[in-house]
Symmetry: none
Subunit: 424 residues, 2 copies
């Protein structure tokens, strides 16, 4: 059976509250669409066995594939396994191989497996066990023929880092083989340094023609913090043709917005900058004030970044800008901490101390306090020094709360490094 339609049921009372959105279903629906399976309905249900059983029975009545997320933990309120076993009429077995794996996982950390974790080794009879390299709860895949026909029921743990690698293997294996032939192909352009409406104005004349093309290309513009995403989607049966259509479409867009596009292959900004640094054989270091270390932290989120990240200094107080970076006290007194001369002196100070090739100075007012009429909250000065190029320094005005200002400042600084290295 090739599943054509899917339903997602997220389990967990915390997902019914006011604070936590179910984000797993976004990832799952994207992957399902890529392998040609339509998502019809997604639901969230609390830790109530009766409600979950009702939802599962209804889902079995109308969809081929049901993906349940969450409720696979070791505690009393983790009831997904039990409900699935009951609804599908499959007796529950204890898989001692799973017990051994969970026990070993605890022992590797010098801990004794609590007895409650044995629950995670309960397996409805006939279920295929999906290994979980990032946690204790294994996933389960059940290929089930019952009164309402044949279904695939997949149980996945809630944490995205456990769920995603597991689902990738399911897509590559049992699910991918069963899926229909027409698939959704996607490409995404990541853009920064322009507002959403400016991107829209530039690209709308291009993508509006694609709607009536054969096959049509659908376009979604998504504004996220500090960037714009432009998603192009085409439904096709042939892989090569689909790729050719999307490549051509992307080239048309690039002709008008290329310098603002920082990634067309899914790499995040810090990876793009890291790859440029590696290609040039450059190291990098930063002197940060208002971003509080976030710039360097983002750079070091990339695996292998120790090859090019020298380090950084976070100097919040003026005396630390002097003590740690050698910014002259007179300069601070004359221009203020949030000023172009100080940002440049910070970039110079960290260069002298680390001998990094590329250096960045960031100083500003993240808010909510500290703003003045001349320098309101959101004012951030960024200086970038790249070998053989004039020093870059600019004063930005960012909007939003403290976290937004911090993120946008690091995004603008990373993007400036990118632009200066790309045209190096």
């Amino acid at each position: 059976m090739a599943p054509r339609t899917a339903e997602i049921i997220a389990v967990g009372s915390e997902l019914l509250g006011a604070t936590r959105a179910d984000t797993n279903s976004l990832y799952l629906s994207g992957r399902l669409s890529e392998i040609g399976i339509d998502l019809r309905i997604k639901s969230v249900v609390g830790d109530e066995p009766g409600d979950l059983a009702t939802l599962l029975r209804q889902a079995l009545d109308r969809s081929d594939l049901i993906v349940l997320t969450g409720g696979l933990g070791p505690t009393d309120d983790d009831l997904t396994r039990d409900v699935v076993s009951e609804v599908l009429g499959l007796p529950m077995d204890v898989d001692e191989a799973i017990v051994a794996k969970i026990r070993a996982r605890f022992e590797r950390r010098g801990l004794v497996m609590p007895e409650v974790n044995r629950r995670q080794a309960n397996v409805p009879r006939g279920a295929f066990v999906l290994d979980n390299p990032n946690g204790t709860a294994p996933g389960l895949l059940i290929d089930h023929a019952g009164a309402s026909g044949r279904h695939i029921v997949i149980l996945l743990p809630g944490p995205p880092r456990e769920l995603q690698p597991m689902f990738e293997r399911v897509c590559a294996g049992p699910l991918g083989e069963r899926a229909g032939h027409e698939r959704a192909y996607r490409t995404t352009l990541f853009i920064t340094g322009r507002g959403e409406s400016h991107v829209e104005q530039a690209v709308q004349p291009i993508y509006s023609r694609w709607r009536d093309a054969s096959p049509p290309i659908s376009t979604t513009i998504l504004a996220a913090m500090g960037q714009i995403e432009l998603h192009l989607t085409v439904r096709e049966t042939d892989d090569t043709r689909a790729r050719a259509i999307l490549d051509r479409a992307r080239d048309e867009l690039m002709a008008v917005i290329a310098p603002d596009v920082y990634s067309i292959d899914g790499r995040v900004m810090e990876e793009v900058v890291g790859d440029l640094l590696k290609a040039r054989g450059h190291t990098i270091a930063a002197a940060e004030s208002c971003t509080g270390g976030l710039f360097t932290s983002r750079l070091t989120d990339v695996a292998g970044s120790s090859a090019y990240v020298r380090g950084g200094v976070v100097a919040y107080a003026n005396e630390d800008k002097t003590a740690l970076l050698g910014v002259p006290a007179a300069l601070l007194a004359a221009h203020g901490a949030v000023s172009e001369p100080v940002a440049v002196a910070m970039a110079e100070g960290i260069r002298e101390r680390t001998h990094a090739d590329v250096t960045v100075g960031i100083t500003g007012i993240a808010g909510p306090g500290g703003g003045t009429e001349a320098k309101p909250v959101g004012t951030v000065v960024i200086a970038v020094m790249v070998p053989g190029r004039p020093v870059y320094v600019r004063t930005y005005s960012f909007v939003g709360g403290r976290a937004m200002v911090k993120f946008q400042a690091t995004q603008a600084a990373l993007d400036r490094v990118r632009r200066m290295l790309a045209t190096d």
Copy 2:
């Protein structure tokens, strides 16, 4: 009838894609909980009349209040009104007063109302019309007595700025009056430094008794990155009594896990640490290697943190540990960069340079590369110096990918500062 349980159905194919989460339901569930109505299930369905009708019938079978969001626009794929009218068996009337309002709205902007907008004046017979000051589609409230009992069905437009003011009026008016007096009261304990199963083992004997108490207190344990959340909920009619019940329950839990609880009032870890620093009049600075600035960045996420954060140094390379922090090269050579003597030397180095009262040194292997048999990926050494207390240093083993290791290391370091200051 006083509705006790609610269901939310969000309508719109765009909400089934990979890019758009249903955020209206977060707002709605918060407001419902405040007026004493439990959200049982929330679902998202595409613009498919058959699927929506099925979901609505099922919701009528089990919930008193059904809130539908979206699908009230003027176009062909806006089908919520039609489906509700059909499922509830209510004939559709055209409300000319609504047509006049929509027409006036267009005219105020110098436009002629397109004929398609007349659809938005369709009203299932007997429905109460909810004015929409921020858009064309009015909302609808239907108090319906049918085969499955009496229900309230509310239809709201999808855009949050249209939906929210409308729902506020419903809460203040018909729904608030109808809602039972019993409300859900919640309290949450945030715990770190223990695994989920260990918390469960410690608290399960306590909360299992609460299930049969009068009123029962329900408990949810939620494992997030680097922390455990313990949610307690009680349904009560009296505010003071509810608070007393939850306070007593919390005290019972605190008696066994108090040192591991870092917050009982919703503050995040970096706020708790910041408040302790302020109370003690202490400043803080950090020397980071594998966490790449994330520790200092988290501290500075808190508004007003410039009062106590001095700054920090990120020293990735060994030579920078020496140049920026004065860690002796001989110490690095003798023990390796990831070692307890080096972590302590980093904490000492940043203390000498910033004169901060509390200093932290973090060095480790975030992975995926760089691990050895003796020091595998996830090995992190944390040193903390607090005035008047012996130097703390410990070697941790964290599991997970690079981002997980970085976060857990900063969480453990913040938590250690918290514990040392709390018992100062």
